[in-house]
C-alpha cells in the first residue's frame, strides 16, 4: 500500500502544477500575434504520469505505464518511457488514464439562434429578408461558420469537462443547411487556441428552425428544398451563371463545405432513412444524428451504411398508478420506455458505427448516469468507450489529434480512480491540451487499519475499513454488536476531522453527554499517529490521539465484525434487486415489433400458398361474379380460378363456403401514413415536393384499413395550393419500411387543386395576398407554370442534349435543374399524371381546357362533386372521376353536390370511383360502394368496381391489381358476406399473397397487447414505488390528415373530434 503514497516532494510538485494551471501556457519559442501584458511566462508543461493503467485506445490498455506530455501534446506513452529530468513526475499507481471524450453534437460557445419577431398573424414571407447576397430561403445558410460565432464559455465548458469530455464539435443548430461546425477543445483559453479545426464538418437538418418564411411548411418541403439546393449549388459551380444568378454567397459556401464530414440531424428513425436517401441521390454519406429510437428500424439503418450520433435520452416511466391514467399511455410509449436504454447496445450488436452525444438531455449532467443505464442494458464498456473516443474522432477526421493516447496527439486525457464505467469509479482529473481540471481530488492517503483511540481519558478502538478512496470509519468499545457507532470523517491535506453521535450516554464508558462528538486533528508524516482536540456534547474540550496498530485491510474488516458486514451486503443486494426487477443485462424483455406499434409483427409474415374453396368470387372481369368457385394464390400472385382446384403441397386451404372473395379495395385519395405535413402550403406551386419522401410506415391506420379490406392507397398531397405535390402509391404492407411499401414501378402522379382551398377562402383575413385569390387567378397560375415548364423543356433540348431520366441535367448543359419544373414538364410530356381536387363545373372545365392547350390530358378529378353536370365533357376529355359517395354542405362550393354523382358519371362512361380522403371512412369503402346502388341504381357488380378496378385504372395499376385474374397480384380479401353489405367483415386481407390481416390473428394481437401492457404497467409501478421519476400520461392520437391540413403537427389531443376536414 505504501508505494501508493506520494512523498513530500511529489505533493510539492502537485502544488506547483496547480499553480501552473492557473496561468495559461505560452510556448516560449512559438510566435503569435497577441501582445503580452506583463513578463512572458512560458512553460513547457512537461509531465510524466507514472505507474498508471493507461487505456491508449478504446480497446488497448497498458499496465504500469507512463504518459509523458509536453506543451499540451503527448510525447510518449508506454512502459519504457524515458522520463526527462525536467518533467514533473506524478505517481498514478492504481489510477487509470483514458483518452478524454468527444461530443460531436453540441452548440458549445455559440449563442442560440434568435427567434424571428414575425408573428403568425403577420403577412407571410415568401423571400428571405436576410441582409447580404445570400439564398432566397432563410433556412438555407451554409455560409454560417461556427468558428466565427464561437466564443469560449468556461462555465459551459466545465459542464462538459465534468462528464469527461475534452473535445466537442460545435455548430449553429438552426435551419436546413446550417453551415460549418468547428472542432474545439474544452480548456479555458483564447478562441484561437482552443479551435482544433475551424471547418471540421457541414451540418444539415429537415427543420427550417427560426426561419420565418412560409416555405417550407412541411417535412417534404424541407426535403425538396435541400435537394434543390444541391442542384442549384452544382449549377452555380459548373455553369458559373453570373449573368443570371449574380453572386450567391450561400451557394458558394455550400459548395465549399462539400468535402467535409456531412452531419445530418433527424428526430427519428424514419427521418434518418429519409436523410440517407437524399444523401444517396447526391453521392453523400451523411453521419446521422438520430433521435434515440433507432432500435425500432435497425435493419434498414444498417443497410443505409450511415454512421450515427446517438443521444442517451430515455423517456421517464409513466405514472400508471391510476388505471384510467394508464389507459392514456400507449403501448408504444411503454415499450419505448423499456427499450430506450438498450438502443446503444442494439446498434452495437447490429454493427452500426455510432458515437454518443450529450445532446437532447434535459440535464446534461445526467449523461454519465444515462450511460451507465445503457451499459447496464448490455452495452459493452469497450463499445461505450469507443463511441466516446475513437468513433467521434474518426467521424470528423480528427483521429490524428484526439480519441486515443499516442505520441503527437493532443494531451486530452482523464485520470480515474478505477475502470471508468465502474459505478464506484471517479474521474479525478480531466486534462485538456495539457491543462489540468480537477473534478474530484485524489484521496491518496491510505488510512485503512485499526487504531487505538484515546479520547480524553477513555480508550476506544477506531477502525477504518473498505476502500482507500472512501474508507468507512467506526468506533467500538466492546465486542458486543451494540457497542459501536459509525463515524463520519473528512480528510484533507494533513488534517482529519471525525464526528459521531453519542446517542445514549452509555454509548461509551465516559460521561460526555449525548449529542455529536466532534474531533479535529492532524496526521503524522507516516500517517500512523493522529492527534488533536475534541469538543464533547457536554461542552468539554479534551485532547485525543489515535495510534495505528494494524494496517492490513483484511484485519481491519475482521475487527469491524464481518458478520455484520455480510448482512449489510445482503441487504444492499436485496435493495438493488428491488430497484431493477427482472432486469438482466442484454436481455431485451419486450419484443421489438414491426412497426413498433400495437398490432405490429414480431416476425414479418411472408407470402403463402392459399386455396380458397367454394367462394363467391367477384372477379371484376368478364366472368362477373362466380358462385362456388375456388381461387388459388401462390408466390404472391393469383394462380388460378376455377371449380375443383386442387391444393398444391404445402398450401393452406381456406373453406370459403358462403363467403365472398374479392380483390383488395383501392383508395384513390388517402392521407394516412404520412409524416409531418400533408400540405406544402408555402407557395402556390409545390410540384417539387413528394409524398414519397415522407411515407410513414408506422401509422396504426394502415392496420385498421387492412381490416376493412384496403390493400392499396394513393397518398396524396393536400389541396392548399393550385399545384400541390407528387403523390405516392403504396400497398398496405403492414410492418415493412416506407420504401418497401411503395407500389413498384407505378406511374408518377401529382395533386392539383381548385376552388376555395387554393384561393384561401377559408384561411382567415391575414391570408389574402398569395396569388391566386380567385378562380380567375387559378387559371392564369396554371398557364404561367406550364408555360415556364415548356420553356424549360425547350432550354434543356436547346443544350443539344435530350434529357434521359431525371437524375441529372445533360452533360454540358448550363440549364439549372429545377425540381418544380421537372415535375411540370413531366406532366406536359404525359409522364406524370394529375389528380385534381375539384368541386364546381366551371373550374373543372377550365383545367381540362388548360391541359388541352398544353397537349396533355388531366388524369383524374378527385372530389369532383359537380362532375355530373359536365360528365359528357369529362368523357370527351378522357378524365376519370374519383368522388365521395354522399358528402356535401360542408362548404359553399359543395352546395350542389349530389349522391347520384358517381352513378351519373359512370352512366356517361367516365371511369368512376369512390374514395375516402379520410382515415375512418377508408375502412368502410366497401359500404360506400353500395351507395352507388342506393343512389342511382347501378348494378352491384359495377358499384364494386368503384372501389377496386376503377381506381386501379385511374392509377394505371390495373395490370397488376383491381380484379381476380390469374397472373395479377394476390391482393385479395375474404368477406363474411356480400362486400357491399354493412354486415360484411373482412376476415382475411392479403397483399402479394401475404396475410396482413386475419380476424383470428387480430384476436391474438389483442390478447398480446393486453398482456404486454399489464407487464409493463407492473414494471413502471415498481419504478414509482422505488422512488424513480415518472411522468404524467396524456392521451395522444395520430393526426388524421386531410386535404386542407397545414403545418407539421403529428398528434392530436384526446378531444379532437374525428374531423374529416374541409377538403
Amino acid at each position: 500500500m505504501k508505494q501508493h503514497l506520494l512523498n513530500r516532494k511529489q505533493i510539492m510538485n502537485c502544488f506547483l502544477l496547480l499553480l501552473a494551471c492557473l496561468l495559461s501556457f505560452t510556448d516560449v519559442f512559438a510566435q503569435e500575434t497577441y501582445p503580452v501584458n506583463g513578463v512572458h511566462d512560458t512553460r513547457d508543461g512537461k509531465y510524466a504520469f507514472t505507474n498508471a493503467t493507461i487505456h491508449t485506445h478504446y480497446n488497448q490498455k497498458v499496465e504500469n505505464a507512463t504518459l509523458l506530455i509536453e506543451k499540451g501534446k503527448i510525447v510518449s506513452v508506454g512502459t519504457s518511457v524515458r522520463i526527462p529530468k525536467d518533467a514533473v513526475t506524478i505517481d498514478m499507481a492504481g489510477k487509470h488514464i483514458y483518452p478524454s471524450f468527444i461530443d460531436l453534437y453540441t452548440e458549445y460557445g455559440i449563442a442560440e439562434a434568435e427567434k424571428s419577431d414575425h408573428k403568425w398573424s403577420d403577412p407571410p414571407i415568401y423571400i428571405s429578408k436576410k441582409d447580404g447576397a445570400y439564398s432566397w430561403n432563410s433556412a438555407i445558410h451554409p455560409e454560417i461558420e461556427a468558428a466565427e460565432l464561437f466564443k469560449v464559455d468556461n462555465k459551459a465548458a466545465d459542464e462538459y469537462r465534468k462528464l469527461g469530455f475534452g473535445t466537442v464539435l460545435t455548430h449553429h443548430q438552426d435551419g436546413i443547411a446550417r453551415g460549418s461546425g468547428s472542432l474545439v477543445l474544452l480548456h479555458n483559453d483564447r478562441e484561437n487556441k482552443v479551435i482544433v479545426n475551424d471547418k471540421a464538418s457541414a451540418h444539415y437538418s429537415f427543420r427550417k428552425g427560426h426561419s420565418p418564411m412560409s416555405y417550407p411548411s412541411s417535412l417534404m418541403g424541407s426535403i425538396a428544398l435541400l435537394r434543390q439546393t444541391y442542384l442549384d449549388a452544382d449549377w452555380y459551380a459548373k455553369a458559373k451563371p453570373q449573368d443570371e444568378e449574380g453572386v450567391n454567397l450561400s451557394l458558394q459556401a455550400f459548395n465549399e463545405l462539400q468535402n467535409l464530414p456531412q452531419i445530418f440531424t433527424v428526430v427519428d428513425r424514419l427521418t434518418a432513412l429519409r436523410a440517407d436517401k437524399v444523401g444517396d441521390e447526391f453521392g453523400k454519406q451523411y453521419i446521422i444524428k438520430g433521435g434515440g429510437d433507432e432500435f425500432m428500424r435497425l435493419n434498414e439503418l444498417k443497410a443505409s451504411n450511415a454512421s450515427m450520433i446517438i443521444p442517451l435520452k430515455f423517456p421517464e416511466a409513466y405514472d400508471v398508478e391510476d388505471p384510467f391514467d394508464a389507459q392514456n399511455v400507449s403501448l408504444k410509449d411503454m415499450k419505448h420506455w423499456e427499450l430506450a436504454p438498450h438502443n446503444a447496445r442494439l446498434l452495437a450488436d447490429a454493427g452500426i458505427e455510432f458515437a454518443l452525444t450529450t445532446s437532447d438531455l434535459k440535464k446534461k449532467d445526467s449523461f454519465l448516469k444515462q450511460l451507465r443505464k445503457a451499459i447496464d442494458s448490455g452495452l459493452s464498456e469497450e463499445d461505450a468507450l469507443k463511441a466516446l473516443t475513437h468513433t467521434p474522432a474518426k467521424l470528423v477526421n480528427a483521429s490524428g489529434e484526439v480519441g486515443s493516447l499516442e505520441q503527437g496527439k493532443i494531451a486530452n486525457f482523464l485520470i480515474t480512480s478505477g475502470p471508468i464505467f465502474d459505478k464506484k469509479s471517479k474521474i479525478h482529473q480531466n486534462w485538456i491540451a495539457g491543462q489540468k481540471h480537477v473534478l474530484a481530488p485524489i484521496k491518496d492517503k491510505d488510512l485503512i487499519g485499526v487504531y487505538d483511540l484515546k479520547l480524553g481519558d477513555t480508550d476506544y478502538t477506531l477502525i477504518a475499513k473498505g476502500k482507500v478512496e472512501q474508507p468507512d470509519f467506526l468506533i467500538k468499545w466492546s465486542n458486543k454488536k451494540k457497542d459501536r457507532v459509525k463515524v463520519n470523517h473528512k480528510q484533507e491535506e494533513g488534517r482529519i476531522s471525525l464526528n459521531f453521535n453519542n446517542a445514549k450516554d452509555s454509548t461509551s464508558h465516559a460521561k460526555m453527554g449525548t449529542g455529536i462528538v466532534r474531533l479535529s486533528g492532524w496526521l503524522s508524516d507516516d500517517l500512523k499517529t493522529w492527534t488533536g482536540k475534541a469538543d464533547l456534547p457536554n461542552g468539554e474540550w479534551v485532547d485525543w490521539s489515535a495510534k495505528r496498530t494494524k494496517e492490513d485491510p483484511e484485519e481491519a474488516a475482521k475487527a469491524a465484525d464481518e458478520e455484520e458486514e455480510e448482512k449489510d451486503k445482503k441487504k444492499e443486494t436485496a435493495k438493488k434487486a428491488a430497484d431493477t426487477p427482472q432486469e438482466k443485462k442484454r436481455n431485451v424483455l419486450t419484443p421489438i415489433t414491426y412497426p413498433f406499434l400495437p398490432y405490429g409483427w414480431e416476425e414479418q409474415p411472408t407470402a403463402e400458398t392459399v386455396l380458397f374453396t367454394n367462394a363467391t368470387v367477384w372477379t371484376n372481369e368478364e366472368d362477373g361474379i362466380l358462385e362456388e368457385t375456388d381461387v388459388l394464390i401462390q408466390g404472391g400472385k393469383i394462380k388460378s380460378i376455377g371449380k375443383g382446384l386442387s391444393a398444391p403441397s404445402g398450401a393452406k386451404t381456406v373453406d370459403a363456403t358462403g363467403k365472398h372473395l374479392t380483390c383488395g379495395v383501392i383508395d384513390e385519395h388517402s392521407h394516412i401514413a404520412i409524416s409531418r405535413g400533408v400540405n406544402e402550403s408555402g407557395q402556390a406551386s409545390s410540384a417539387e415536393v413528394r409524398i414519397g419522401d415522407v411515407v410513414n410506415s408506422d401509422d396504426i391506420n394502415i392496420y385498421r384499413q387492412l381490416s376493412g379490406g384496403v390493400t392499396t392507397s394513393q397518398l396524396l398531397h393536400g389541396s392548399a395550393n393550385p399545384i400541390g405535390g407528387q403523390s405516392a402509391i403504396i400497398k398496405l404492407r403492414w410492418g415493412m419500411a416506407p420504401e418497401k411499401m411503395k407500389f413498384e414501378g407505378a406511374d408518377g402522379f401529382i395533386k392539383f387543386a381548385l376552388g376555395e382551398n387554393v384561393k384561401q377562402s377559408n384561411w382567415g383575413d391575414s391570408n389574402t395576398t398569395r396569388f391566386p385569390q380567385s378562380r380567375m387567378g387559378v387559371e392564369q397560375a396554371f398557364i404561367d407554370h406550364f408555360s415556364r415548364a415548356q420553356a424549360y423543356g425547350e432550354a434543356l433540348k436547346g443544350g443539344g442534349n435530350v434529357r434521359k431520366g431525371r437524375k441529372a441535367a445533360p452533360s454540358g448543359s448550363t440549364v439549372r435543374r429545377d425540381l418544380e419544373l421537372d415535375a411540370l414538364l413531366e406532366i406536359i410530356e404525359s409522364k406524370r399524371f394529375i389528380t385534381c381536387h375539384s368541386y364546381v363545373q366551371s373550374e373543372i372545365t377550365m383545367l381540362m381546357r388548360v391541359a388541352e392547350q398544353f397537349g396533355f390530358r388531366v388524369n383524374t378529378f378527385t372530389h369532383i362533386l359537380e362532375g355530373y353536370k359536365i360528365a359528357d365533357k369529362m368523357k370527351e376529355h378522357g378524365v376519370s372521376g374519383s368522388t365521395f359517395s354522399d358528402w356535401w354542405a360542408y362548404k359553399y362550393e359543395v352546395i350542389d353536390a349530389i349522391p347520384h354523382n358517381g352513378a351519373i358519371m359512370h352512366e356517361m362512361g367516365v371511369t368512376t370511383s369512390f374514395n375516402s380522403d379520410d382515415a375512418e371512412m377508408a375502412r368502410r369503402l366497401n359500404q360506400e360502394a353500395a351507395k352507388a346502388v342506393k343512389y342511382g341504381g347501378i348494378s352491384e357488380e359495377e358499384a364494386w368496381k368503384f372501389v377496386t378496378l376503377n381506381p386501379a385504372k385511374m392509377l394505371h395499376i390495373d395490370n397488376r391489381v383491381g380484379s381476380i385474374k390469374a397472373g395479377k397480384d394476390a391482393d385479395v380479401v375474404l368477406w363474411s358476406d356480400n362486400p357491399l353489405s354493412i354486415y360484411a367483415k373482412a376476415q382475411q386481407t392479403y397483399v402479394d399473397g401475404v396475410c396482413y390481416f386475419d380476424m383470428e390473428e387480430d384476436q391474438k394481437h389483442r390478447k398480446a397487447i393486453k398482456a404486454e401492457r399489464d407487464r409493463l404497467i407492473q414494471k413502471m409501478l415498481a419504478v414509482k414505488k422505488n422512488g424513480g421519476k415518472t411522468q404524467k400520461p396524456m392521451p395522444k392520437q395520430k393526426k388524421l390528415y386531410h386535404c386542407d391540413d397545414l403545418g407539421e403537427e403529428e398528434h392530436e389531443d384526446f378531444y379532437h373530434e374525428h374531423h374529416k376536414g374541409h377538403w
Partner: protein, 456 residues
C-alpha cells in the same frame, strides 16, 4: 285518387313521369320546388298499410302486418293473420314484402341551425358566453333548410336540435318533426333539454407552444367549481316563492325547469374521468342526466348502470381514440352498453358533419347490428331509445296503437345501404314528400343526357 295517394304520387312524381305511367303528374312537378318540398297536409281519414314486415322499435317484428292510422295516431298494429278488420274504408297501401319502421330520431344535432359548414353567415348553432341556459335553439330552427329534406328521405323524421358550441352551458334544445311550415309548427317538445359541455380535464398545448402537454388539473377543478356554483345559485333563485320586485335573471330562470324535473340534463363528456365526474355531478344535483359523446364509456359501464344513465353515442363510424384499443371498439360500443343494461342511442354527432350526415344515421345503427347487437336492438338506438331519453316515448319512438303514425317504409333492410331505400314516410299521419334538391338535380341531368332515371 285519395289525398294520400296524391301525396305519395307527388313525392315520386318524377319517377312516375319519366316512366310515363302517369302523364297527369307532370304539371304537378312543375308546380313544385323540390329544394323545399311542401309539408304534407292533414288528413282526417284513415290509412292502412298492408302486408309489410313491421319492425316496431321495441324489439319485435311482425312479418306480415296490418298497420292502420287515423289522423295523427296509429289505431292498429297487428299481425295480418289474426287482425280482425275494420280498416276496409281506409286508404289502402299494399306494402307486401316491404319493411315498416318508426321514423328515426336524430339526437344532438344542429340540423336546421346550419346550412353550409364553412360559411359563417349560415351558422346559428353556437352562442358566445360561458353559461347560456337561456339560449333556445328552437327559434333559429330553419324549416326551409335545403339539407333537411335530404336527411328526411333517408328516414330521419324527428330531431333534437341542440345549441352546441360556446361555453359550459350551451343552451336548451327542442325536439322537432321534420315536415313543417315554420318552427312553431315543427316543435314537438320545446326546451326539453339543457346542454352541458363538460369541462376538459386534459389541457393540451399546441405544437406552437412546444408540442407538449400541460399538466392537468387546476383549470379543470376551477371550471367544475364554477359550474357547481352556478347550479347552486340558480337553484336558490328558483326556490324563491315570490319574485315580485326582484330583478329577473334570465340565466337562472332558464334553469328552473331542470330543477323541477321538466327538463333533462344532456352532458357531453368523452374522457373517462370526466364521465365519472359528470355522473356524480348529476347525482348530487338530483337531475336526470343523459351522457352525450361517451367515447370512453366502455370503462364506465358500472357507474352508468348504477346511476341509470343513458348514453347518446357519437358515431359508430369512428376510429378508436388510442392506438392500442380494439380496432372495432367504436363499432361494438353500442353492444357493450346494451349488454351492460344501459340504454344507448346513436347519432351522427355534433361535429362538422353533424347535420347533413344525419342521413347516414341508419347505417351508424347498422354497424352496431354488425357488431354484437341484433338488428332490432340496433333499430332501437335510433328510435325507441332516443324517444325515451327525450321523454317523448309515450307518444312516439315505436309503432304502437295510440302513438304517432310517424313511420317509414323501406324496400329492404333499412340498416344496410345495400337494401335501404325508403319509399314512403309519414309524420303524425301526414305523408311526407320524399323529394329533395339532390334528387331534382339528378333528374335534371339524367334528362339532359337522355338517360333513364333509376332508383334515387
Amino acid at each position: 285518387m285519395t289525398i294520400v295517394h296524391s301525396y305519395i304520387l307527388r313525392a315520386f312524381c318524377c319517377l312516375l313521369a319519366i316512366g310515363s305511367l302517369f302523364a297527369l303528374s307532370v304539371p304537378q312537378l312543375q308546380a313544385q320546388n323540390p329544394s323545399v318540398p311542401t309539408p304534407g297536409g292533414n288528413d282526417e281519414g284513415c290509412t292502412v298499410l298492408m302486408g309489410g314486415v313491421a319492425h316496431l322499435g321495441d324489439g319485435t317484428v311482425i312479418e306480415n302486418s296490418i298497420i292502420v292510422f287515423e289522423g295523427e295516431k296509429l289505431t292498429l298494429v297487428a299481425n295480418a293473420a289474426v287482425a280482425k278488420g275494420g280498416w276496409e274504408s281506409c286508404t289502402k297501401l299494399d306494402i307486401t314484402g316491404k319493411h315498416v319502421y318508426p321514423g328515426f330520431i336524430a339526437m344532438n344535432t344542429h340540423m336546421g341551425l346550419a346550412e353550409v359548414g364553412a360559411v359563417r353567415a349560415t351558422k346559428d348553432n353556437s352562442e358566445v358566453g360561458d353559461m347560456n341556459p337561456h339560449i333556445r335553439s328552437i327559434i333559429a330552427y330553419n324549416t326551409d333548410s335545403r339539407v333537411t329534406p335530404t336527411v328526411r328521405s333517408n328516414g330521419v323524421l324527428m330531431a333534437q336540435v341542440v345549441p352546441q358550441g360556446g361555453g359550459m352551458l350551451s343552451g336548451r334544445s327542442s325536439v322537432v318533426q321534420l315536415d313543417a311550415w315554420n318552427y312553431e309548427d315543427a316543435v314537438y317538445q320545446a326546451d326539453g333539454g339543457l346542454h352541458v359541455n363538460w369541462p376538459r380535464m386534459l389541457n393540451y398545448r399546441g405544437a406552437w407552444g412546444g408540442g407538449g402537454v400541460e399538466k392537468k388539473g387546476e383549470k379543470y377543478l376551477k371550471n367544475l367549481d364554477k359550474l357547481r356554483s352556478f347550479f347552486a345559485e340558480a337553484r336558490a333563485y328558483c326556490a324563491k316563492e315570490n319574485t315580485k320586485g326582484q330583478k329577473e335573471n334570465l340565466k337562472f330562470k332558464a334553469m328552473c325547469d331542470l330543477f323541477n324535473g321538466k327538463q333533462k340534463l344532456f352532458v357531453k363528456a368523452n374522457y373517462i374521468k370526466e364521465i365519472i365526474d359528470a355522473v356524480h355531478f348529476a347525482k348530487a344535483e338530483k337531475v336526470e342526466m343523459v351522457l352525450v359523446g361517451g367515447n370512453d364509456c366502455h370503462m364506465a359501464l358500472d357507474i352508468l348502470k348504477e346511476n341509470n344513465i343513458s348514453v347518446v353515442l357519437n358515431k359508430t363510424h369512428n376510429l378508436p381514440r388510442r392506438a392500442g384499443e380494439d380496432i372495432d371498439l367504436p363499432f361494438k360500443l353500442p353492444a357493450m352498453l346494451q349488454e351492460a343494461g344501459i340504454d344507448c342511442a346513436i347519432t351522427v354527432g355534433d361535429g362538422w358533419d353533424g347535420f347533413w350526415d344525419q342521413r347516414n344515421l341508419c347505417f351508424e345503427a347498422g354497424t352496431a347490428a354488425a357488431y354484437g347487437m341484433s338488428k332490432e336492438e340496433a333499430l332501437m338506438t335510433i328510435t325507441a331509445n332516443p324517444a325515451k331519453m327525450l321523454g317523448i316515448a309515450e307518444t312516439t319512438g315505436t309503432l304502437a296503437e295510440g302513438k304517432d303514425a310517424t313511420l317509414i317504409i323501406s324496400t329492404g333492410d333499412v340498416l344496410d345501404m345495400r337494401s335501404s331505400h325508403i319509399e314512403y314516410a309519414f309524420i303524425q299521419g301526414r305523408p311526407v314528400d320524399m323529394d329533395n334538391k339532390q334528387k331534382a338535380l339528378y333528374r335534371k341531368f339524367m334528362e339532359k343526357y337522355g338517360k333513364e332515371i333509376k332508383q334515387h
